[in-house]
Amino acid sequence: MNTVLSRANSLFAFSLSVMAALTFGCFITTAFKDRSVPVDIHVSKVMLKNVDDFTGPRERSDLGFLTFDISADILCPCGSSCVCTPLFLYLSAEYSTKSNALNQVVLWDKIVLRGDKTKLLLKDMKSKYFFFDDGNGLRANKNITLTLSWNVVPNAGILPLVTGSGRKSLPFPDAYETTQSY
């Protein structure tokens, strides 16, 4: 402690320890929050086609087109209405077919950056990615469930995967090339 360097050394070390303790405190105060918020998903239109799937087994597979609305007020991990950490949102469809007990397809996603507003009010959205089934499991499927989930990237601690509490189950049309409105 009698030279400048030794004082600087102990000052750095002490500040670093305090910063580590504060980071742990940040983790403790954000880790046990319930982040699930109500999400309202409304599907306005579903179109079903049977087309050649060139990526898959080279047979005609079911391809669904959805038009949907999402309204949700996603809280950031600390609770205020503006994001303090990035969020990765995605809309996924879950359904079961004869060949697979559980299929999950990501239809749409969005990255909400720091500082953006998290009050989502999206109307007449088209799905970003192809909703391909690996067979003919979409036609006349009575229970296709859409959920909105998101990853939270916090300052410190675990990366929570939050699923919104609102989910939408809908039946798909019985015939191809027909548009069903809900």
């Binding site: 402690m1 400048v4 102990s10 002490f14 910063m19 504060l22 940040c26 105060t29 303090c84």
Partner: protein, 103 residues
């Protein structure tokens, strides 16, 4: 040129070192508490980090340079013994060596 640098006092006395340590620990802890509460209220951890960094800057400004307030209790050295033949010479060497070790 070098004599200018060597004439700059860089040391602190023992009480000054203790005072400096208490000052920087106090400033950093207080800024950490303030920053944590402020960051908890506005819910942004970045501000906590900024406030702690500000406390770090203030405490390094206050305690890194050897300000005169840290040199108020200089060590009282033993007076130089009159040089005498025999073992008296070794004693004076020991006496002068001991405090230098702590310096």
């Amino acid at each position: 040129m070098l004599s200018i640098f060597s004439s700059i006092p860089t040391h602190m006395d023992y009480k000054g070192q203790k005072l400096a340590e208490q000052i920087f620990q106090g400033i950093i802890l207080v800024s950490a508490v303030i920053g944590f509460i402020y960051g908890l209220i506005i819910e942004q951890f970045g501000w906590t980090v900024y406030i702690v960094l500000a406390g770090f800057a203030i405490s390094s400004l206050l305690t890194l340079p050897p300000w005169p307030m840290y040199r108020r209790n200089p060590l009282t050295w033993q007076p130089v013994l009159p040089e005498s033949p025999g073992d008296g010479r070794e004693k004076t060497q020991e006496n002068t060596k001991k405090p230098r070790k702590h310096k």
